[in-house]
């Protein structure tokens, strides 16, 4: 299978007040086109740092990240990030305005085309009745839907999702996860998804990379045979397998005296 993204021996460290802090060390993995790839680990394991490096917001201190064989050096609309924070929508633009804006600046589309394309994706996330609303009039779940619609409309090579549902209430999160699966079925977009929730990882990911903390290193890459399934024997088995891998680290970590 041809590779879309390859992360090769990436180490990311940055200076802090108490010296150089290494967030991620010697991490390698690759993602095939159309794959849903999960970075899973406890907080502080460097999974968001890794995603930011793929997005181009951070430069690896060592190693390289390549998309389609080209080295990633800066952020760009070929890798669109969906953040956890609700303030990722531009508050001065309507829902439609938010979806259209990057089409005009990043894809150089004409007004009419951008509008047409924007409405199509707003419809896809079921918000056509709200296309003229401003972000502050929407609920958290609706804001994340707009962010997803906007990202899909840009038509990137990859979606980078940084715990996008972590700030939602349990019911909404549940529904958004199902919707994301549906959207993926329709679009087959390659997704790199960061989460600390084992259940979310097992529901959404074709493969799950488990990061061990302090500094973040690849513990194991689990091939998920229960993708799209929730609370059945197979998914519970994989969840337990992952939990065992993560708990092992919790113990190791507490022996070190935490982070």
């Amino acid at each position: 299978m041809p590779l879309l993204l390859s992360v090769n021996d990436v180490t990311i460290s940055y200076p802090t007040e108490s010296g150089l802090f290494t967030a991620v060390q010697d991490v390698s993995f690759s993602i095939a086109p159309g794959e849903k790839f999960i970075l899973l680990g406890p907080s502080g394991c460097g999974k968001s740092t890794l995603l930011k490096a793929v997005a181009g917001f951070l430069k690896p201190s060592a190693g390289s990240i390549e998309l389609d064989g080209r080295k990633i050096t800066r952020p760009g609309p070929d890798r669109v990030v969906i953040f956890q924070e609700f303030d990722q929508l531009l508050p001065w633009k309507t829902v439609l305005g938010n979806v259209i804006y990057p089409l005009k600046v990043a894809r150089k589309m004409a007004d009419g085309d951008a509008r047409h394309e924007g409405l199509r994706f707003i419809q896809m996330v079921g918000l056509e009745r709200f296309s003229d609303s401003y972000p502050h009039q929407l609920s958290g779940g609706m804001k994340q839907r707009v962010a997803i619609a906007r990202s899909l409309a840009i038509n990137p090579r990859m979606l980078l999702m940084d715990e996008p549902f972590a700030s939602l209430d349990a019911l909404t999160r549940h529904r958004m996860q199902e919707e994301l699966l549906g959207i993926w079925e329709a679009s087959k977009k390659t997704i790199l998804f960061v989460t600390h929730s084992i259940q979310e990882a097992v529901l959404l990911g074709d493969r799950i990379l488990i990061l061990s903390p302090g500094p973040g290193q690849v513990k194991q890459i689990v091939v998920n045979t229960a993708v799209g399934q929730r609370e059945n024997t197979e998914s519970l088995r994989i969840e337990n397998e992952i939990r065992a891998l993560l708990e092992f680290h919790d113990e190791a970590q507490s022996k070190d005296g935490g982070q």
Partner: protein, 262 residues
């Protein structure tokens, strides 16, 4: 009928009307010398005739012209200072120090110095206005820029924006609530300053603004016109602060659900 009085604007209008009636009644009852305290009706009729013959609007326009010039230059310098402040640490320190020093200094106190440097004329007034608007506008714009959520900046970069396109597309609108409140404070300072400065400004009569109009008519003992001048100062202040800025807020920050923590 009763419902009309629920509206605050109507009630406030009634208060103003009562004040005018009271003013009229007291001046007539005590037979005050109209050279010292003219009755309300006389002031209003002078106000109207002076408005119609173009004298008052001419002077008011002169004040506004100087004020807008000063504000425009002040805004540009403020933009330059804040750009410097957000891009370099020394720039931020320069801005913080200058603002801390000059913000407490009333602009009008610089007028004698301005007269010395720029002579009797519009330039001295503009200098004073720039000083009165520059510091509050810089401070607010700077706060606006540094409080832009980092997520929004990342989103802009993610769209491939950088440099000026990022500033114009993301940072300026995100900081807009603060920029607007900077303009509001700047206007309030500038309006009070220009009127005060023009009072001191005796000689260049043909260039005078509203302050000069007031001073001139006091000199000629046209006290009704002095009152009419004051009335105009109040009216323009009210219109700009309560109609113009409110309208801009309704069209922008209120509609967007954004507000500056002021």
């Amino acid at each position: 009928m009763k419902n009309i009085f629920r509206h605050p604007v109507v009630r406030k209008g009634c208060i103003v009307l009562t004040l005018f009636i009271l003013w009229e009644a007291l001046t007539r009852f005590f037979e005050l010398n109209p050279l010292l305290f003219p009755p309300a009706t006389q002031v209003i009729s002078s106000f109207i005739s002076s408005t119609i013959n173009g004298e008052l609007p001419g002077y008011a326009w002169q004040s506004l012209k100087v004020l807008l010039t000063g504000m425009a230059i002040g805004a540009l310098v403020a933009l330059f200072l804040t750009t410097l402040a957000v891009s370099t640490r020394i720039g931020a320190e320069i801005l913080e120090t200058l603002t801390a020093m000059f913000n407490p200094l009333p602009a009008i106190a610089l007028l004698p110095l301005a007269l010395l440097w720029f002579g009797l004329g519009v330039n001295s007034l503009i200098f004073v206005i720039i000083h009165s608007v520059l510091w509050p506008m810089s401070l607010n714009t700077y706060t606006g820029f540094v409080t832009v959520p980092p997520t929004l900046k990342s989103v802009g970069q993610n769209f491939g924006l950088s440099g000026w396109r990022l500033v114009a597309g993301i940072l300026l609108p995100a900081a807009f609530p603060y920029i607007l409140s900077g303009f509001k404070i700047g206007w309030a300072f500038a309006w009070r300053t220009i009127i005060a400065a023009e009072l001191v400004f005796g000689v260049a009569a043909r260039q005078g603004g509203l302050g000069w109009f007031i001073y001139l008519h006091r000199f000629e003992l046209n006290t009704d016109l002095v009152f009419a001048g004051l009335l105009t100062v109040i009216l323009i202040g009210l219109v700009v602060e309560n109609l113009l800025f409110k309208w801009i807020e309704r069209k922008t920050v209120l509609r967007w659900g954004m507000s500056a923590a002021q």
